[in-house]
Amino acid sequence: MTTDLRIAFLPLTDAAVLAVAREKGFAEEEGLHLDLVRTTSWATLRDRLVFGQVQAAHMLAPLAVAVTLGLSQQAAPLSAPYKLNVNGNMLVMASEFAQALDPDVAARLDDPLGTAHDFAAAIGLWKRKPVIGVVHRYSSHSVMLRYWLASAGVDPDRDVLLRVLPPSLTVEALRAGEIDGFIAGEPWGSAAVDGGLAEAVAIGERIWRRGVEKVLAFRTPWLEENPDSVDRLLRALVRAAAWCDEPDHHEALAHLLSQPHYVDQPAELILRALSGGIVPRVDMAPLSMPDFMLFSREATPFPWRSQALWIYSQLVRWKMVDHSAENAAKAASVFRPDIFRRALADSDVAMPGASMKVEGAVASPLAVGSKRGELTLGPDSFFDGRVFDPERIEDFLASF
């Protein structure tokens, strides 16, 4: 018997695993039929999930935490047992603004700390308080941008204007001069570069080398009541993710996603994030960034609780929520390594032994304790060298 599942997504390259699970038969093998519901705003995706019109959603990790904490309209406990990707964001700024930065784009992207300071100086030279588009208040993009700007003494709530707009409207807003740059998921940064409107200024993967991005979120009560469907879906997604990471499949994947009912953008633009060949300025040769967006390797889908807590620490830092033991526990509970373990207990997926780790402590590839198979974690450092110990949130917050 086939089970139907409705899953909401936004037209972005990192919805790839869901599309592949449906189109390449991985869901079918698990007896699932996926109905993927294309949605144009995070607010509507959230409402569809919270009010039960879909069973799961391709969601910004910080939004899942925020909804659970009651920060984004109707409060509802959400659970994320699976990470759909890590990394994949790019900050682009209008070419005129970027003139105040290092003209050697590769050097600029390789040195986020230096570029943050150049950016801070460029703010004063610009004709107005720079307006930077972010896709949502509770997005990885917003927390990453704030983290990066603050490292150079920029107060993101005072020195720049962060304007929320959905990914699909970013390029038009830039063209109309309503914003001076934006940080969004692919292919939107590449689309702005290709249009000759903007240049790459910072890459998510260079700010936090393994940055949490989209998760698969469920309403917690539904997740608890439907263990069989959840487990089957997670097994299908793990196989779909491995398919997505395979370099031989990138071209086919880009074509699949370019269709109107998925991302509806040229396959050539979508391919850049998948293959890690990022064009930072129009007509330049692509720069090789093999870790630009990850779906499968290094146990990418595993929802480390420490990562939910890192997100929480940033929401506290920017005064979006008050810190309390209760709030921290709620935030941590959003990531569900227990469900991931249960669903994949009989598979050959390498499984981390722990559920929390010190974030930012891995400087070069590291073999770690794993219940099965070999697991090597990639470098996960922050560009400023900080580490986040989830057991010591207060100390971490005091360090800013």
Partner: protein
């Protein structure tokens, strides 16, 4: 009660505005979600904001609701979670609503119900229009196929149509598909 409708499709907003006026609401404004619409909205200080659930600008609006000091903290319409059928109907119809805190839900409910009815009516109207448009283009294709048959086979109009119809029935296809195939073949063969 000041109601602001944020909508890109001028026609749907007008349909909704009309309905609200008939129901006795007279302080209604339509704002397209472009450029600085958030600043405009802030100056209007609405009690209720209605917006298409499918509009990509909902995130921009919600951000404004979160940070604006000019507005009393507004809340989403769906706050009355007990009313699940209402929520379901609103989402199905594609209506989202934001209501200023403190406004009684009995006062807001008729507005939302009206919006749902009007959005649904508008969607029906649009699909009827689409159907009409398709029917029109279907008829043009069939007419062209008929005239090809009439000139090539020396048939009268009723006979040409009967031939198309019986071929369609024999092949288990729609008449318009058979007609299209005939036109394509005729074009390929240089107008025979």
């Amino acid at each position: 009660m000041r109601i602001v409708i944020i909508d890109d499709s001028g026609l749907r907003a007008t349909v909704l505005e009309e309905g609200l006026r008939e129901a006795g609401y007279d302080d209604i404004h339509i704002v397209p979600p472009r450029g600085g619409f958030v600043a405009r909205l802030e100056r209007m200080a609405p009690d209720v904001v209605l917006m298409d659930l499918g509009s990509p600008s909902r995130d921009t609006l919600e951000e404004m609701l979160t940070v604006s000091r000019a507005l009393a903290r507004p809340i989403a319409m769906f706050v009355d979670q007990s009313d699940e059928s209402m929520i379901g109907a609103a989402i199905d119809a594609g209506v989202s609503a934001y209501v200023v805190d403190g406004l009684r839900k009995e006062r807001v409910k008729p507005v939302l119900e009206l919006a749902v009815r009007r959005f649904n009516a508008f969607a029906r109207l649009q699909s009827e229009l689409d159907e009409a448009r398709t029917a029109l283009s279907d008829r043009k294709i069939i007419d062209r196929a008929k005239s090809i048959l009439m000139s090539q086979r020396g048939l009268g109009e009723p006979e040409a149509y009967a031939l198309l119809r019986s071929s369609a029935m024999n092949q288990g296809k729609r008449i318009v598909d058979v007609a299209q195939a005939l036109i394509t073949a005729s074009d390929l063969l240089g107008g025979m």
